[in-house]
Assembly symmetry: C2
Homo-oligomer: 474 residues x 2
């Protein structure tokens, strides 16, 4: 009998792999070790839970532990895998003061990523949060809600750190909020804090919000945040979060801005400690290197999700873009491969969308010129603004699209989009085109949908392609 398929990590990649493997090969034993209590929860939904737009913590679960058990998966929560021995094909597991060796036939490392906060002094103070755990989200929402409106015993979520929730629920709600970092988390948390009428300050080290989305999107988001009363501190280096044991202020460039609550969202790093010192190789990004099947440099050891590199659709090089869909997809492919049906994990294009109040933003591929040059391209970009619907149809809104292409080949490299009317989903057109190595001329000739309520005759993506193609021909 083959040793079990062992999965380390019970979230998107891990449980996708376990589910797919068990479905394809029901006789195979599948064991999932999760060091925490929560499994299969939607990271991306946490800002909306904090905002109050999503009612309960349980709403964020894709699968409950019971669902996982129903699939025939042996899920062990509170079990931390602390070592891998590829020669012996075993992992060492710690749980409740026990420590044991677990043999594996195939192993998937799906340990995810962790929010970076170390560089910020004071990030461990009470009242300072990162948005990377369900317990933190529950505690933050309890803090934001007036004490008479929150009953900690009624906060749902079987595994929630109720003591922490109770502690924050008893505090006076904050009146001022500081956000350190102007990426996804920062922008989404600005919206969440504003829903509680807090005085919100957002600090961003560079001059632009959402740097991977490029200039046009960054400026539109800055405008939108400003219109909603968020005070932006751009180009501001946060020195520390100040306070005795509670957050009292953020100090940036010598200025002290009072804050009752702080969120640090300055990025995530892959959780690779488990494989360090083993023959499992890391890539240049620091995440685990994998091949097109998600297999690492060690036979039978796979990695997927936020801890792993994948191949970029445009550059063809390994890259690390920790996002939800590709984690699920890679996990699922590994599950199929392990079950005997070799399946490609697919490429990543870095496609991402984010909402900032009423503004929808999207990006895909390579949009930064320096990065494009590093990958051997000679990049050119054009930015246009066009209507989201026929100009005469109610609801038409300006939609700004930037497309980037390689001058020599005309190949589409990437794009961004921003607007208030169905802008985000339109980035999928660009993501699809660049996955297929389309040229800008081909994009210009795409037969996209037109009807007055949904699009002008020339969709904004087509307008951008037309203009960029024109400038490439010059």
């Amino acid at each position: 009998m083959t040793d079990p398929f062992v999965v380390v990590g019970g979230d998107a990649a891990g449980l996708s792999a376990a589910s797919k493997c068990k479905r394809e090969d029901p006789d195979r034993d599948v064991v999932v070790f999760e060091k925490g209590q929560w499994v299969s929860y939607a990271h991306c939904g946490m800002p909306y839970y904090v905002k109050g737009e999503v009612a309960g913590l349980n709403d964020l679960l894709s699968l409950t532990p019971d669902d996982v058990a129903d699939r025939g998966i042996d899920l062990r929560r509170g079990h931390e895998v602390v070592a891998v021995d590829p020669d012996d094909q075993t992992v060492t597991v710690e749980a409740d003061d026990r420590r044991f060796a677990q043999p594996y036939g195939d192993l998937l490392v799906a340990t995810g990523a962790h929010a970076v906060s170390d560089p910020i002094e004071g990030a461990a103070l009470d009242g300072a949060f990162t948005m990377h755990s369900m317990d933190a989200a529950a505690a933050l929402r309890a803090y934001l809600t007036p004490p008479d409106q929150v009953d900690p015993t009624e906060v749902d979520g079987e595994f929630v750190d109720r003591a922490r929730v109770e502690r924050y629920a008893a505090m006076e709600p904050p009146e001022t909020a500081a956000i350190v970092g102007g990426g996804y988390v920062g922008v989404e948390m600005a919206e969440a804090f504003s829903a509680y009428d807090l005085d919100v300050h957002l600090f961003q080290r560079t001059d632009r919000l959402l740097p991977p989305f490029g200039e046009a999107v960054g400026e539109a988001v800055a405008d939108e945040l400003g219109e909603h009363g968020v005070t932006l501190h751009l180009g501001a280096e946060v020195e520390r979060i100040a306070g005795d044991d509670r957050v009292a202020a953020v100090v940036a460039d010598g200025e002290r801005v009072p804050a009752d609550v702080a969120v640090v969202g300055i990025g995530v790093r892959p959780n690779t400690a488990l494989v360090e010192g083993t023959p499992v190789e890391l890539g240049e990004s620091g995440a685990i290197a994998t091949d097109e099947y998600g297999e690492t440099s060690v036979d039978g050891v796979y990695a997927a999700g936020d801890c792993a590199e994948m191949t970029h659709a445009v550059t063809g090089e390994p890259d690390w873009v920790p996002l939800g869909l590709t984690a699920n997809r890679a996990g699922r492919a590994v599950g199929a491969t392990v079950a005997g049906d070799p399946s490609l994990v697919g490429d990543i294009a870095g496609t991402a969308v984010v909402k900032a109040f009423d503004v929808e933003c999207g990006r895909t591929g390579v949009v930064d010129h320096e990065r494009a040059r590093d990958a051997g391209f000679d990049p050119a970009s054009e930015t246009i603004t066009a209507g989201s619907r026929s100009g005469y149809y109610p609801g038409a809104a300006p939609t700004t699209v930037t497309l980037t292409a390689d001058r020599e080949t005309g190949r589409l490299l990437g794009g961004t989009i921003v607007g208030t009317d169905r802008a985000a989903v339109r980035i999928d057109t660009v993501a699809t085109a660049l996955d297929q190595d389309a040229t800008v001329a081909e994009v210009e000739r795409l037969d996209l949908a037109y009807a007055p309520p949904f699009s002008p005759v020339w969709d904004p993506v087509l307008v951008a392609a037309k203009v960029l193609n024109g400038s490439l021909e010059e």
Copy 2:
């Protein structure tokens, strides 16, 4: 000096060609003959003008005659081209009892299409309309509006048939409406009539609305129309529109349904009379055959827009799909080609979107199995329903996607979509993929956008690809 570039028809294809040619080659004389008075108007917007959602007729104009003149184009309205002599390189023009020969260097036939109504007896009665002219739209809206709320002298539109508007404005508004045909026009007019609280009956010869959109969309639209009080007569053959000189009823399958107003929307046919009897060849569809530059079988004679065939992106065969974007694009390409920059008109995929009250529908490519088989494919389809956003995020709505692929190669052939939340624009993902000859397996691995407010982890298009790919592998 080269003879002028002569364009027959002053709408999407014709004026796109004229404008592009003049911009690329400002010294070239460009003459556009338009037999009517209206130029450059948005056919697709007329139902929304009738509904009252678009305020004025002038809102539907992309360009006014003055705009056209400003571009240096010699626009002659009220000039009908009645003959082409390719040997002499002249066209014969009639205007105001004059008749003259106009030499051309290059000729573009952009005569458009006309609404079919002949097979329906009584379609010429007062109170019966087709939705293919601005004057009809203006008269119909005047009819629908109570007499005390419409001042015919205030109906905008410089060229409107004011006498016709006045006649209808003076009539008692209709209380019951009959729509003959369940295609785009029928569905859109059902919504328009309902806005005036009319008792609306829609007659469709086949058992399904919007036949090119397939079964799932047809059923969803039938449900939506029914929920809005529209009475559907499916599988009903309309024998005639009855009435003395005014519409009084529609007779279908022996049943007489009273109606004060009737709209006939049973399709359009290409306007090809001008080239019949000339060496300019028609294709099998009955529209004018063209090559990849929009040139007909006669050198220097081009055809573009609703009167012309183009190449289908999936079948690679000539096809006739009269829609707005491809008319504009083909016209623009012909203008560039004539100006000395040979430009491909591009393929058509038959991408189309339509709104039925709150339901958004999209289709692209080949979805009908019989048609797929005719084109040499072995089609397989799957239909799935998935959420438009993360299930926990407010506003998530069921979205139904059908994808069709070739069993042997796995190539994506076409798709349809229907739903209430940003469904229509998602068809562009499918349109882009099939333009690039993507397989369903490739579509399954696309890195599409995910964020709770905009899409679930697995976008409905990806779910459909996953399911179809699974069934292809069996």
